[in-house]
């Protein structure tokens, strides 16, 4: 796989000279140092701010939105009306307030995005750790598997999977995880190889540590920061995938999500009748949340991996 070589340049320690890093100064001293460095990156703080606002809105939504506001049968607003009194962002075909729908939609987008990310990261890290730790045929087989999954087209695979499993939240969560674990696996494997080349692993082995103990007690803690960074960026793409899959009609058919809103806007003729107030809010919400995760992830990446600063 020659073409991957220029892309995996970011694994610095592999080629690093075997000088023990013990004497080198730590990049940040602990948690407070990390927070201080994070606060210095303005875009990261903005990203985190966005996420906090959306998370609060999503969590508190049941306090000020009742099911009657979202039930097609019980609402009494005008149909597909531009913003007016009481409906600051207008209404949809059924007469529901777009503002309330967008706020409620945050719940499904964030929860599916986070769940899919947890699945992706757990699956990817497990494969990456095992592939990196056990060389030989296990490692090779797992790496080939990862390469095949990286080469598979994500969206067609995801829609095929959810079509076969059936509509629903669980099915799109699984589809997202299955289509995105491979890049985490590749990243974790590279990092595992780098960590295992260090002297302290040899020392642990000499003291009699077995495979699982080396992996979980020594390698995993050293790989965790990287996993965290990559998972922040994974959430961003998982939310985009969630929006795409629900837009294609694969989510929970009765649920409210940003993608599903845009789907009903397209199929319900909101585009042809020029109902711009129906189109902008869900899309802008997706954009802002994805941007929030990306900015936060990049800021954390900058702190943990100074080499990436210049390419940022």
């Amino acid at each position: 796989m020659t073409h991957h070589e220029p892309l995996t340049k970011a694994d610095p320690p592999v080629a690093a000279p075997p000088v023990a890093p013990v004497t080198s100064k730590p990049r940040h001293n602990g948690f407070t140092g990390f927070i201080r460095s994070f606060l210095r990156i303005r875009s990261g703080v903005a990203g985190l701010g966005i996420l906090v606002v959306f998370a609060l809105l999503a969590l508190c939504a049941p306090l000020f939105i009742s099911h009657n506001d979202l039930d097609v049968i019980k609402v009494d607003g005008p149909s597909l009306h531009s913003p007016t009194d009481g409906y600051p962002l207008g209404t949809d075909q059924e007469g529901r307030s777009i503002l309330l729908l967008v706020i409620w939609g945050a719940r499904s987008s964030l929860s599916i995005g986070l769940m899919a990310t947890v699945l992706t990261v757990v699956l990817g890290s497990a494969v990456g750790l095992i592939a990196g730790h056990y060389g030989g045929w296990i490692g090779k087989a797992l790496m080939h598997l990862t390469d095949w999954f990286i080469a598979l087209p994500g969206l067609p695979l995801a829609i095929s999977l959810s079509a076969v499993i059936g509509q629903g939240t669980a099915s799109i969560t699984i589809a997202i995880a299955i289509t995105s674990w491979s890049s985490t696996a590749r990243l974790v494997r590279a990092q595992t190889l780098a960590v295992e080349a260090k002297p302290f692993i040899e020392r642990a082995r000499a003291l009699g540590a077995g495979g699982p103990q080396v992996m979980l007690r020594h390698v995993l803690p050293n790989v965790t920061p990287l996993i965290l960074v990559s998972s922040t960026l994974t959430v961003a793409s998982a939310i985009l995938s969630e929006a795409t899959l629900t837009f294609l009609g694969l989510g929970d058919p009765t649920g409210i999500s940003w993608g599903a809103m845009l789907n009903s806007a397209l199929s319900g003729g909101a585009v042809t009748s020029g109902a711009w107030w129906y189109l902008y809010p869900p899309g802008i919400a997706i954009l802002i949340v994805v941007l929030g995760f990306t900015l936060t992830g990049r800021a954390v990446e900058t702190i943990l991996n100074p080499r990436s600063v210049k390419t940022r």
């Binding site: 067609p156 829609i159 929006a243 993608g259 397209l266 189109l279 902008y280 954009l287 990306t294």
Partner: protein, 352 residues
């Protein structure tokens, strides 16, 4: 730069003894090509296994879905099962599936009652037209902007370009399509739309040139959507590979020779920085085809993407399986091309 490369080339070639070695030229490449072809074939086989598991083993009972709602006797069900080959063992079914796929028999669509392969054949060209145009434009635009912003990173142009690419990456493709559609085709408020709303051509307009112009008009918005979403990724790849080259000593040499800044960039930095970008673009091309699904759905563009969406709505499993195989095959083909192109572009890889 030519002489620096020559010197390095000569030094590197001497110990290997390649020029005098008498090895027939190109045999190394042939072996390389064969290895890559075998790898691609294995990848395709794996895709077929995944497709088989996904569409033949996982669904509960295709016969149930086909006869859904219709009164069917057990004998009829059994006959249908036999017709579909469901009464055979799994290895047998897989063998038939592979031979059928390789000979272009992808089954019959439940929705359209037509062979899947002919449906795909009809829809392939519109997708290639859309994706081809969008790719050429976004590659040119992306590489150009990437070089510009990477060369002077930190400048105002760089900040605008990076900000715009980051934002565009965060935008869902289908939403951008809908916004462009409502803005330029339907029109907002006092501004009327002036571009056609959907489809690929107006059936009322026939005849050579008029038809071409009509298709071109229909192409503008879907193409613009694809370009806006895709070019940002090319910008960031090209930008970071230019930045990686910035500190290289050969650029200092070029400057010391008295070359103008523009020449240093164009003749020295760009050719080297292009390598990772080109492979990245090829690898990306295959996935772009998958991105066509949402854009074609929004604009009712009669291509493979819209076909997958129609298959998904039913869901029409044979058709979905056919499009899945075509999309995967295109990714594998593009990765193969990436390997081959890389070999031609990078003398270091050629020498190995």
């Amino acid at each position: 730069m030519a002489d620096t490369i020559d010197v390095i080339g000569a030094v590197a070639a001497k110990p290997a003894g390649a020029p005098e070695g008498g090895r027939p030229k190109g045999s190394g490449f042939a072996r390389y090509l064969v290895t890559k072809l075998v790898a691609a074939a294995i990848s395709f086989l794996v895709t077929l296994v995944i497709g088989f598991v996904l569409f033949s083993l996982m669904p509960a009972d295709p016969v149930q879905s086909i006869t859904r709602g219709r009164p069917t006797s057990d004998a009829q069900m059994a006959r249908l099962r036999h017709q579909l080959g469901l009464d055979q063992s799994v290895p047998e079914r897989f063998f038939h599936f592979v031979t059928d796929t390789l000979t272009g028999h992808l089954g019959t669509s439940w929705e359209f009652q037509q062979p899947v392969s002919s449906l795909i054949g009809d829809r392939l060209w519109p997708t290639l037209l859309l994706m081809g145009t969008a790719t050429v434009i976004s590659v040119l635009l992306g590489l150009w902007l990437g070089v510009r912003s990477g060369w002077r990173h930190g400048s105002w142009l760089d900040r605008i370009v990076t900000g715009a690419s980051l934002t565009l990456w965060s935008v869902p493709t289908f939403w951008l399509g809908m916004i462009l559609l409502i803005t330029f085709s339907v029109g907002i408020g006092p501004f009327p739309g002036f571009l056609p709303a959907g489809g690929m051509s107006d059936p009322a307009i026939t005849g050579g040139l008029d038809h071409v112009v009509d298709v071109a008009k229909h192409l503008v918005l879907p193409c613009l959507t694809m370009v806006l979403v895709v070019f940002a990724q090319y910008v960031s790849v090209m930008r970071s590979s230019i930045i990686d080259e910035l500190g290289s000593p050969y650029l200092l040499t070029a400057r010391a020779k008295g070359l103008r800044d523009d020449d240093v960039r164009r003749r020295h930095a760009v050719p080297n920085a292009l390598l990772p970008s080109v492979t990245m673009i090829f690898m990306h091309l295959g996935t772009v085809l998958g991105g066509a699904i949402t854009v074609e759905t929004v604009y009712s563009w009669p291509g493979l993407g819209q076909l997958s969406y129609q298959a998904l709505k039913v869901p029409d499993l044979p058709l979905l399986q056919g499009t899945f195989i075509v999309f995967s095959a295109s990714v594998i083909l593009m990765n193969l091309l990436a390997d081959v192109v890389y070999r031609f572009l990078d003398p270091r890889v050629r020498a190995q």
